[in-house]
Subunit: 195 residues, 2 copies
């Protein structure tokens, strides 16, 4: 049933015992279903039960609820990051950057609890640096294109922009604050590019 699988290593899967891998997949599936159905409010215990495992098993694989959320949406984050080069290639630099930022915010705003998960990912210095690096690279790519046009400005590290976007997500995630997010992104953009 689960679409993607089928051939080879669907994900990282660093040599886990067969049952462990199976459980991990079940957990991700159950978590995805639960989050889709009832948002980030879905309880960890319910997810474990739905996956047919104990909470201990869930926590061994995903040390916190935020990390579980992050794992569930990881491939969507990847898709978002992958879109950066295309944007950079087909749009004027600044427009590409703006568009990507807006997509980023939309994603963080729409996926319940994703903003909080992002906070953990960006804040903790655990190995989860992978996702962080992915995002930073996408931004760096877009930033480089902008930089070419208006030199002299060494400002605005990709990490910083990522952090700023994270902060905006956190403030705008609650409720329909789409407009607030839009204005803040606009502000950030002004700070990043000379305009």
């Amino acid at each position: 049933m689960s679409s993607s699988d089928g051939a080879g290593t669907t994900r990282g899967h660093r040599s886990l015992r067969a049952d462990a891998r199976r459980n991990e997949d079940r957990l991700l599936e159950a978590a995805a279903a639960a989050f889709a159905r009832e948002g980030a409010g879905a309880s960890v215990k319910d997810i474990a039960r739905a996956a047919g495992v104990g909470v201990g098993t869930l926590y061994r694989r995903f040390p916190s609820k935020e990390l579980l959320i992050e794992a569930v949406y990881r491939h969507e984050v990847r898709r978002l990051c992958d879109s950066a080069p295309h944007l950079a290639a087909t749009l004027p630099p600044v427009d590409a950057l703006r568009t990507w930022m807006e997509d980023f915010i939309d994603f963080m705003t729409v996926k319940g609890g994703m903003a909080d998960a992002l906070r953990v990912v960006l804040t903790d210095d655990n190995e989860k640096t992978h996702t962080r690096a992915l995002l930073a690279d996408a931004i760096a790519h877009l930033l480089a294109a902008v930089g070419e046009r208006s030199p002299g400005r060494p400002r605005a590290d990709a990490q910083d922009v990522l952090m700023a976007l994270g902060g905006i997500s956190l403030m705008a995630s609650s409720e329909g604050r789409r407009d607030l997010a839009a204005r803040l992104v606009h502000l950030l953009l002004h700070g990043v590019v000379g305009t």
Copy 2:
């Protein structure tokens, strides 16, 4: 020292029963001590016990831990807001704004849990709008001074700047991310003023 007090209503104190007022004071005192001693990690139950009341009493007055934190530091927030006019009067507009922003971040960063409390204050639409309005006014004041110099820019509502600062606090509050905060404030400043 505490400037404003002295006469009449020390705080809001909307006609509470004598015992209720006494308990509120005790709670604030106990909470302040606990937060100073062990940071925002201090447990609500311990604070209630130290104040000699039950948790129910604490929660009737302060509906959440964040709101309790906010109440404890409220007068310091007020002091911060009160400093804005003086800064605006003695410094070039942009410098005044930058200085105030840095002070704001320092405050939110230093006081444990204050960033999270701020998130609640800025996010919820409860009556806590008072503190929010206080902050927004201070920013509006500083912003107005900047606006005079470079007209034509309707951008940057005080509310938005406040939200942006809140987001920065949230991302930089964990650990010694003082430098990150500084860079983001710099970025925000660029977005707000034309420079």
